[in-house]
């Protein structure tokens, strides 16, 4: 673990699903230091062969694991587990306890945005709203 704590300029990704893993692959290919955590070790199969970052598996809502993944010194965190409630909790922890400078969090339910208001450095991403926008754009172009 001594090695990872030396990596100051790194990206922490919580949840290795389709979004998490593809960001991890891209960032790693671009030469960035990437750490990925997921509760399920088989989720790391989504990482490409050229991924050269670190992986941690365990309960992502347990602060011990996040600390092992050095959340306290990370430059940015991308929170993309499949559970909105877990994502919101980790966003609160990252912002209020560890003061992570850049926090990106994916939420399926747009009505939960209100729970992130007032938190510093938190940027929510709503796939639902993005799809609606894209739909409007596409249909608008066809008419």
């Amino acid at each position: 673990m001594a090695k990872t704590s030396l990596l100051r300029n790194k990206t922490l990704i919580v949840g290795c699903g389709r979004l998490g893993s593809s960001i991890a692959n891209k960032e790693s290919l671009a030469g960035k230091n990437v750490l990925v955590v997921d509760k399920n070790p088989s989720a790391f199969e989504l990482l490409s062969d050229r991924f050269s970052g670190y992986t941690f598996s365990g309960d992502v809502t347990d602060l011990a694991l996040l600390e092992e993944a050095s959340i306290g010194s990370t430059k940015e965190i991308i929170i993309a587990t499949g559970d909105d409630n877990v994502n919101i909790f980790i966003a609160h922890v990252a912002s209020q306890i560890y003061s992570v400078p850049n926090i990106y969090v994916r939420l399926d339910d747009p009505s939960l945005e209100i729970l992130l208001r007032g938190l510093v450095n938190v940027h929510p991403i709503f796939p639902f709203e993005l799809s609606i926008d894209k739909f409007k754009l596409l249909r608008g172009g066809n008419r």
Partner: protein, 221 residues
């Protein structure tokens, strides 16, 4: 009081039984169909079926402005979000939630949940409490461990025994709220005599507890 009970099975059942009085308005929300059935049958009150961490469900159940919101779900993060919603969106006056990971007690409090209960955490602190029984000091804390009530039994060899309270120069950081001398409870004043065998109940801030205990335990020269 308007009380919302969100999730839980046996815990929900027990709390409903205790609070189901005319003076209370209970709102019960549960995500499990079987539990909804049982609760409705046992207590003859309406139960909302749905996830208590969803805004629409809380809206339908009309939890707005409730006095107490109790989250009893299985997942800590679900309870956290339910409490946050209750507080931020529906102006709940007080939120209580249970957690299964005892480490979350401190974290949830830091993040703004009023009261967090973990059975493991309680078990651990009661083990500590029982083991300090030998030292004849028991304590109980209030308001997120800021205020503490200490129970100490006075022994014959203590400097304060057989003295009046006005004589002992009791630390200003604590108050002797009552003294239990079988079979009666005494509300002390300066002239109350402290006798060996008395149980003293002292209220203080947690940080001053140690000093007060060592003051009381000071032995006679």
């Amino acid at each position: 009081m308007k009380i919302v009970i969100a999730g839980g099975d046996h815990a929900a059942d027990y709390i409903i039984k205790n609070f189901n009085k005319r003076t209370n308005k209970l709102i019960i929300i549960n995500p499990d169909k079987e539990i909804v059935k049982t609760l409705t049958k046992n207590h003859r009150i309406p139960v909302f079926y749905g996830d208590p961490y969803k805004k629409e469900i809380l809206e339908t159940a009309n939890v707005k402005g409730c006095d107490l919101f109790i989250a009893l779900g299985y997942k800590d993060t679900d309870n956290f979000v339910a409490c946050q919603l209750a507080k931020k969106v529906f102006n709940a006056k007080k939120c209580i939630c249970i957690v299964s990971n005892p480490k979350n007690v401190e974290i949830f409090r830091t993040l703004g949940v009023d009261s967090v209960i973990s059975s493991t955490y309680l078990l651990a602190s009661s083990v500590v409490n029982e083991s300090s029984l030998e030292n004849l000091a028991k304590s109980m804390s209030f308001d997120n461990d800021k205020i503490v009530m200490t129970e100490i039994v006075v022994k014959d060899n203590y400097a304060i025994s057989n003295k009046m309270i006005m004589e002992i120069n009791f630390p200003k950081t604590g108050t002797i709220s009552c003294i239990y001398r079988k079979p009666s409870v005494i509300i002390p004043n300066g002239k109350t005599l402290i006798r060996p065998g008395d149980s003293m109940y002292i209220v203080s801030a947690v940080k001053d507890q140690k000093d007060i205990i060592s003051f009381i335990r000071t032995e006679k020269y």
